[in-house]
Amino acid sequence: MKKLFLITVVSLLLITPRARAQFAGTGTTTVSVTVAAEAAIRVDTSTTSLTTTGTIFNDYTGTTSFTYKVRTTASTGSGSITLKVTSDFSPSNGPSVGSPPTGGDKLAYTCTVSAPGTACSGPLTSSISSETNVAGFGANAHSTMAGNSGSTAWTLTNDPLYETGAYSATVRYTISAT
């Protein structure tokens, strides 16, 4: 039995192909890639100035443009673009998203997004505590290689209680895809 076992082991060692690749006049390799759902966004308007026309407390308005790329899974995928005010207006005594001096004061926006995105049904009120919708994507959504365009049009209440001066807030855009 021991001899038989030894003979079997030696035979296997002799007939087992070498692990290293063999040399030949030609060689073939398979290039493989797994393409996953992805999304990316670029805000093209780094600073959006909100301005008003007239001096009769018309709301401040402005537009932020962005470019997005998206790829969602064919049958079950989806995606979205959202925004959130990550830093409220400062300094104090001016407009505020989180603590407006007058109830009803708000930083609202409407959305414009090219296909395959579906723009939000605005106007929506921005928030410092939660993400709010800008655009949605269904299954098998594909932007162009260069990216597709979108924008949010802002409206900020012009409350007489605001002290005069310059105020700024930070808004973060987030895109996701599955």
Binding site: R20, A21, Q22, F23, A24, G25, T26, G27, T28, T29, T30, V31, S32, V33, T34, V35, A36, A37, E38, A39, A40, K69, V70, R71, T72, T73, A74, G77, N140, H142, S143, T144, M145
Partner: protein
């Protein structure tokens, strides 16, 4: 040398020696004579064995054998069976991957060699990247023997594209006139555009590398 010796008693010699003290005088003499013949026979054998080396040495001669070999140019290569292209992020950063190519080559003075590549099948299934749109460019890393391709190349389904050129009069391995490394190697760095238009899923294409030597 062949020596042929014949035993007078075969295998009874040993038995005769053992039995000689148990037998009577006439039988004893008979066996004694047989033993003497056996000793003489095996003595001749021993002498033949001991003298054989001397006899052989004394008969050793010398001769000259001419050996010739036709050494032809040749090239062999090896590539790994698969090369995955990966991306480092999920923001449409391009896919990339590096394929090592090992090769052994011998060229004649005045000859040369080359390694080329051609796609034998496009990415499949459909809906993903496609070689027909030039989606798979590559560059070549440094080679341990020869000169690797320069600049950006693009994998083609219809034409061989360069990977390496080998000058004449070179060979792999052994040092000296040949390369120190065995096998030689060159790397091919692939990059694949991460187009949002690609469907999600796994896609694969086949590439064939060919080496020639003259």
């Amino acid at each position: 040398m062949l020596l042929a010796l014949k035993s007078p008693r075969g295998d009874t010699f040993g038995r005769a020696i053992v039995c000689r003290h148990r037998l009577g005088s006439s039988e004893g003499r008979k066996l004694k004579n047989q033993s003497a013949r056996g000793i003489a026979y095996w003595g001749r054998w021993l002498a033949a064995i001991l003298c054989a080396p001397v006899i052989c040495i004394s008969n050793t001669g010398s001769t000259t054998q001419n050996l010739s070999a036709q050494i032809n140019p040749i090239g062999k290569l090896s590539v790994t069976a698969g090369i995955p292209l990966t991306t480092s992020a999920t923001t449409f950063i391009g896919f990339s991957g590096t394929l090592p190519v090992s090769y052994r080559v011998r060229t004649t003075p005045g000859g040369g060699g080359a390694i080329t590549m051609q796609a034998t099948s496009d990415f499949a299934p459909a809906g993903g990247p496609s070689l027909s749109t030039g989606a798979l460019p590559y560059t070549c890393g440094s080679a341990s023997l020869g000169t690797s391709c320069s600049g950006a190349q693009t994998v083609s389904k219809t034409a061989q594209t360069p990977v390496l050129t080998v000058p004449g009069g070179v060979c792999t391995g052994g040092g000296g006139a040949c390369s120190a490394s065995d096998p030689n190697s060159v790397t091919v760095n692939f990059s694949l555009t991460n187009d949002p238009q690609f469907q999600t899923g796994a896609f694969a294409a086949s590439l064939m590398f060919t080496i020639i030597a003259t």
